[in-house]
């Protein structure tokens, strides 16, 4: 039975991860940042678990030239789910620390990785949709051009440079995934060693 329980440090780390995930509910997850010659100060858009903030109205105004749909927070069903999903994983971390079982740790890790990958895939699909589903009557049509922003990193889209990177919440999600993976690996090694 002893083999099955977690190290103290693992349990502390799990509580830390849980707390961090609670924090992530209340901070922006992702940032999209645009620059152009006529926008030297840049245009920023922030994706939160439950809303979009920043200058997305201005971005909408500019996107109409290329026929991109307007970004409207009410279009995203994810905003109704994400805060609960994050809260669920925070709870799962706490419970794992409380129950002190390796199996729980492995389950938590796998579920969180599935969630993380699903999050990124979902995000990419939205970006794909915005970038490709263009109004054919748009004033500016560049043959063969799509305007999908990068999932992570930088991409030049006509006169706009688009940057996409995790904000505090996204950082927490990556961090938690990494910590969980390390914990699972350490605990797994402990098991095989004995």
């Amino acid at each position: 039975m002893k083999n099955n329980s977690l190290k103290k440090i693992t349990r502390i780390a799990l509580v830390f991860c849980g707390c961090a995930l609670i924090v992530s509910i209340f901070v922006p997850l992702w940032s999209i940042y645009l620059t152009a010659p006529q926008y030297p100060e840049g245009l920023a858009m922030y994706l939160w678990p439950n809303k979009i903030t920043g200058e997305y109205e201005i971005i909408n105004g500019l996107n109409h030239y290329i026929g991109m749909k307007t970004i409207q927070p009410e279009d995203f069903w994810e905003f109704k789910v994400l805060p609960y999903a994050l809260a669920f994983f925070a709870l799962l971390c706490f419970l794992t620390a409380l129950f002190n079982r390796k199996l729980w740790l492995f389950i938590t890790l796998v579920l969180f990785l599935i969630f993380g990958v699903a999050f990124m895939v979902d995000f990419w699909l939205w970006e794909y949709d915005y970038g490709h589903d263009l109004d054919p009557t748009a004033p500016i049509v560049v043959p063969g051009m799509s305007y999908q922003p990068p999932l992570l990193g930088y991409k030049q889209l006509l006169n706009f440079g688009a940057y996409s990177y995790p904000n505090v919440g996204g950082g927490i999600m990556f961090g938690v995934a990494l910590i969980l993976a390390i914990l699972a690996w350490v605990e797994y090694r402990k098991t095989s060693a004995t």
Binding site: G61, T137, P139
Partner: protein, 665 residues
């Protein structure tokens, strides 16, 4: 001022003939690294905003220093077709006066609001010389937000000068005139008995900046030229330079230059305010306009006021004194410590400097030389700190660098002269090109001058710039005054004719409005989204609730307008982005175009004179599709029954967009 130009020019010529040598060329006056010191590299900002009086054009011009680049022309007292100021329905009330709509003026002096004697970057005050008015500009938006007409006055010259905490802005009349409750229909012969010189004290609300004509002082019928408030220990006092103590009324050039001494008038404004509070002064029936621009409705209103409290010489007997000053003093400048008052006798060959402490002592000791129309005259020597000997010819204005030095402009000898305030020794002199009037050091009339640059504003510019016919540009010249000797760095053309100017560090105005929030737009005809666009007929008035956004108007086509209609285009710029104004213009408009800031609503009144198809379009290049930002208004003959319809934008039906019927009320 034209006559002064010729006077100055004549004097320069006379000097040339007498001396028989050519003046030192500018080329030799400029030092080697001057270009480097005024060069502001692309992407860098100037250090200072320089607000320069617009003179004849009635506006305020904003330059960057040290580059001398023109940043903006701010409409204040004159209509401005560039953006519809004074033409749009919202801004027309700004130019109302008791004489009706006056769309021009002669703008002379500027004053930046101060706190504890230091410039604070909140507001800029401007005077209108011709039809007496004082304006307040908000430095968050660079817009004229208030204009107050001054009754009982003519030639609002010694204005607008501010007390050290912006409690009052003053407006002293240049022309003595019969007060408004007396008929002005009197013989000029009766000048001495009927004409008065009225000084106005306009209270300023500490928070809003709103002006209110608190009281006036009916001083003797002399001409008030310039003014400055005291500061620190002399903070309760105002000083005015006065000319024509002879009270002449013809050929003043000669007849007002007879007395060896005119006056500086010292007024204790704090005591005057207390007297008014105590119920002194008579209520004078008059009429003056108070125009205010409301930033939430983007609309100005004009109110006519009917009464003002006027204190008499008798009321002011312990709070108003004359100090003799050599002939025709022009500038009246108080040094940063508040102790020294510099009068510039523009016809005198010396500069008298008065001491505030000595003045107070002379008053306490009753050291008077007599009375002038009931005002006690302090003995010249009793108030005098000393005289700057042989400073140059035609001293006009003095500014200070905060290091104990004063700089005086010399109109006749075309130079700026630096001298020490304490020992009154001349330290340096530099030529100007030519005939300098006002000069300005950023903060140079405040308790804290920045002391790095001096700008001279010149009246004559022969050989300075490419000739432009009989009328040449006027000029400003920038000097570096950080060292012992002044160094000429730059000259740049200005609008004629620059008078007094003000400047402050650019950092002080960082907190500026970039666009107006559409949610805060309380304009009664605002259209806060394209869905709200509509056209409404009310009798022969047609109200168009129009929106503009890159790159279209809504509605973009209107039919059913008839000759004889008054069409009001209420255009709301829906943009919420910095530097994206939209313009609006329509063929045959007799007033102007509009330039509408993001989130703002402006109204253009249009009265088509004949049937036809009238294009309208955006005048400010707003986007790649700016040229497509256009539409039509169909005008039918008077009495025809073309239905009132308008089209909203629908890209699915390119040729015939869906049309909506206009409402009729």
């Amino acid at each position: 001022m034209k006559s002064l130009k010729f006077f100055g020019l004549g004097s320069v010529m006379a000097l040339l003939l007498v001396s028989g040598c050519k003046p030192k060329g500018t080329e030799t006056a400029v030092t080697g690294d001057a270009a480097e010191r005024v060069y502001v590299a692309p992407g860098k900002y100037d250090e200072y905003y320089n607000f320069v009086s617009g003179g004849f054009n009635g506006q305020v011009n904003v330059y960057g220093l040290p580059s001398g680049r023109l940043l903006k022309v701010l409409p204040v007292f004159s209509q401005n077709p560039e953006n519809g100021y004074g033409y749009s329905e919202e801004t027309k009330p700004m130019l109302e006066t008791s004489h009706g709509f006056i769309p021009w003026d002669d703008q002379h002096h500027l004053s930046l609001s101060q706190t504890n004697g230091e410039v604070d970057g909140r507001w800029l005050f401007a005077n209108a010389n011709n039809t007496p008015r004082v304006a307040r500009l908000d430095l968050k938006t660079f817009k004229t937000v208030e204009i107050l007409e001054i009754p009982n006055s003519a030639g609002n010259h010694s204005s607008p000068f501010l007390t050290e905490n912006t409690e009052y802005v003053v407006a002293g009349t240049r022309f003595a005139v019969p007060t408004d409750d007396q008929s002005g229909d009197v013989p000029i012969e009766s000048f001495k008995s009927n004409f008065k010189g009225v000084l106005s004290f306009i209270g300023i609300d500490k928070q809003s900046g709103e002006m209110d004509l608190s009281f006036q002082i009916e001083a003797p019928g002399i001409n008030f030229d310039l003014s400055h408030a005291g500061k620190k220990k002399s903070g309760d006092w105002f000083f005015f330079s006065c000319y024509n103590s002879e009270k002449a009324n013809t050929l003043l050039e000669v007849n007002a230059s007879q007395n060896d001494k005119d006056f500086i008038m010292a007024v204790n404004w704090k005591k005057a305010a207390e007297l008014v509070k105590a119920g002194k002064g008579r209520k004078v029936t008059t009429e003056y306009a108070h125009n205010k621009f409301d930033e939430s409705t983007h609309t100005a209103t004009s109110t006519m006021k009917k009464e003002v409290i006027v204190l008499s010489v008798e009321d002011m007997k312990d709070a108003m004194f004359m100090i003799p000053c050599p002939k025709s003093p022009h500038g009246c400048d108080v040094d940063p410590t508040g102790e020294y008052i510099v009068g510039s006798g523009k016809l005198a060959a010396l500069i008298p400097v008065f001491s505030f402490d000595k003045m107070i002592k002379a008053i306490a000791d009753k050291n008077f030389a007599g009375e002038f129309d009931g005002v006690k005259v302090i003995k010249y020597e009793a108030a005098l700190h000393g005289e700057v000997q042989k400073p140059g010819l035609g001293p006009l204005h003095t500014e200070f660098d905060g290091k104990g030095n004063a700089y005086t402009s010399m109109f006749v000898s075309s130079e700026v002269v630096k001298w020490n305030i304490k020992d009154l020794k001349v330290l340096d002199r530099q030529p100007t090109f030519y005939s300098v009037g006002h000069l300005m050091i950023p903060g140079g009339d405040s308790a804290k001058p920045f002391g790095k640059y001096l700008v001279a504003y010149n009246k004559i510019t022969k050989d300075r710039y490419l000739p432009t016919g009989p009328e040449l540009a006027q000029s400003a010249q920038l000097y570096d005054i950080s060292g012992d000797k002044m160094k000429l760095l730059l000259d740049f053309p200005t609008f004629g004719e620059p008078h007094y100017a003000q400047a402050l560090p650019g950092d002080m105005l960082k907190d500026q409005v970039k666009f107006f929030r559409i949610e805060d737009n309380k304009h009664p005809y605002a259209t806060k989204g394209e869905a709200e666009s509509k056209v409404v007929r009310e009798g022969n008035k047609v109200h168009v609730y129009m929106t503009s956004i890159r790159s279209h108007f809504a509605p973009d086509n209107i039919e059913g307008i008839r000759v004889g209609d008054e069409v009001y285009f209420h255009v709301t710029n829906l943009e919420q982005d910095w530097d994206i104004p939209h313009g609006f213009a329509i063929k045959g408009a007799q007033n102007a175009e509009l330039l509408i800031m993001p989130g703002e609503t402006c109204t253009l009144k249009w009265m088509p004179k004949k049937p036809g198809m009238y294009p309208m379009y955006c005048t400010d290049f707003c986007s790649a599709l700016h040229q497509e930002m256009q539409g039509y208004v169909r005008v039918s003959p008077a009495g025809s029954n073309t239905p009132l319809i308008y089209s909203l934008n629908n890209k699915k039906d390119n040729a015939q967009s869906p049309v909506k019927a206009g409402e009729t009320k």
